[in-house]
């Protein structure tokens, strides 16, 4: 099982109507059809899913962990961006 013959695929499963697909893990498979089958067999054995997506792992562009400070730390001081920062008037009701 070489990486070239059976590349890695990321698996996303939607468990119920109305929810979005969630990343659950990855499988090795030769092509998309076999990746879907492998995802079904590995990740939906206990009734977890109604829908499966598989995406070639190589198609995902990921942020560089080394950029963590630049990308994410500046937001830590901007607590006013959280919706909980504001008082919600009672008249608004359930949000």
């Amino acid at each position: 099982m070489t990486e070239a013959r059976t590349p890695l695929w990321e698996v996303f499963i939607r468990s119920r109507n109305g929810l979005s697909h969630r990343h659950v893990g990855s499988v090795h498979a030769a092509d998309a059809t076999m990746a879907l089958a492998a995802a079904r067999d590995v990740y939906t054995r206990r009734g977890e899913g109604l829908s499966i997506w598989v995406v070639p792992s190589a198609s995902i562009t990921a942020s560089d962990p080394a950029d963590k400070a630049m990308l994410f730390e500046p937001t830590a001081s901007k607590i006013y961006r959280h919706p909980t920062f504001y008082e919600v008037p009672d008249e608004v009701g359930h949000m």
Binding site: M1, T6, V27, H28, A29, A30, D31, T33, M34, A37, A38, D41, V42, R45
Partner: protein, 247 residues
């Protein structure tokens, strides 16, 4: 009638249990983690089908429970197809066997889901959903093995050639009384559908359909290959070593 009904249930249950056990033998040995889980899933589907059929048979007159039927009968009392008791061989043999059987049993379950017997029809309807996936899984693999590397093609063709003489037994007549009463479909009526499925997958897999010739027979009468006795010895060892144990 009840004897005939039970005998038919045992034929179908034995098929499912024997193939299920063979597939379970891959656990710990499969070519990849993904396929290991897939084969174990298929095995559990088949063992579940066998349990439902044994339980129905026990409730309709064999007098034994599912454990006794599975674990306390000898090879001469098993009436499964010879095809299903053969050793797993390499991965190509395992996949080819699963495919040849699934291409038959999927339309068989579909026919059986229209049975006059409501309990049997319900078991068949559930089993058909499982066998439809078995057919898809094995067909996708067979296509990739046949149309893959030189070695995978050679092994897939060798597997087909080796298993082919065991495929005739699937179409042997079912009990005529049960067929006439619309309790069970006639297997010979499924041959055309089987041919279509097999021919289209083999064409895509670039594999040659083996020539028709002499066909093996005897499993339905309890005359088995030398392999079933060894398989049952392993499968039944705990139940026979610890009679009436609970687990």
């Amino acid at each position: 009638m009840s004897d005939r009904f039970s005998a038919m249930l045992l034929r179908r249950a034995d098929d499912a249990l024997v193939l299920g056990h063979r597939l379970s033998e891959w656990t710990g040995h499969a070519p990849s983690l993904e396929e290991e889980l897939a084969l174990a899933n298929l095995a559990l589907d088949l063992i579940g089908q066998a349990r439902a059929l044994y339980t129905l048979a026990a409730g309709r007159g064999t007098g034994e429970d599912e454990d006794a039927l599975a674990y306390l009968r000898g090879d001469r009392e098993y009436t499964n197809l010879l095809l299903l008791e053969l050793p797993n061989g390499d991965f190509a043999v395992t996949i080819a066997r699963l495919f040849l059987y699934a291409a038959f049993i999927d339309p068989f379950w579909r026919g059986l889901s229209a049975s006059r017997d409501p309990d049997l029809a319900a078991i068949a309807a559930k089993a058909e959903k499982e066998s439809a996936y078995h057919l898809r899984h094995s067909a996708e693999w067979l296509i990739r093995l046949g149309d893959g590397t030189d070695e995978s093609h050679r092994r897939a063709q060798a597997a087909l050639d080796r298993l082919w003489p065991y495929t005739g037994e699937m179409f042997e007549p079912e009990d005529e009384v049960l067929v006439a009463a619309d309790i069970c479909p006639e297997p010979a009526g499924l041959r055309e559908a089987w041919n279509r499925t097999v021919d289209s997958v083999l064409a895509e897999a670039t594999l040659a359909r083996p020539a028709e010739g002499w066909m093996q027979s005897g499993g339905r009468a309890g005359r088995h290959t030398e392999h079933l006795g060894h398989m049952l010895a392993v499968m039944q060892s705990v139940a026979r070593g610890f009679p009436a144990a609970k687990w």
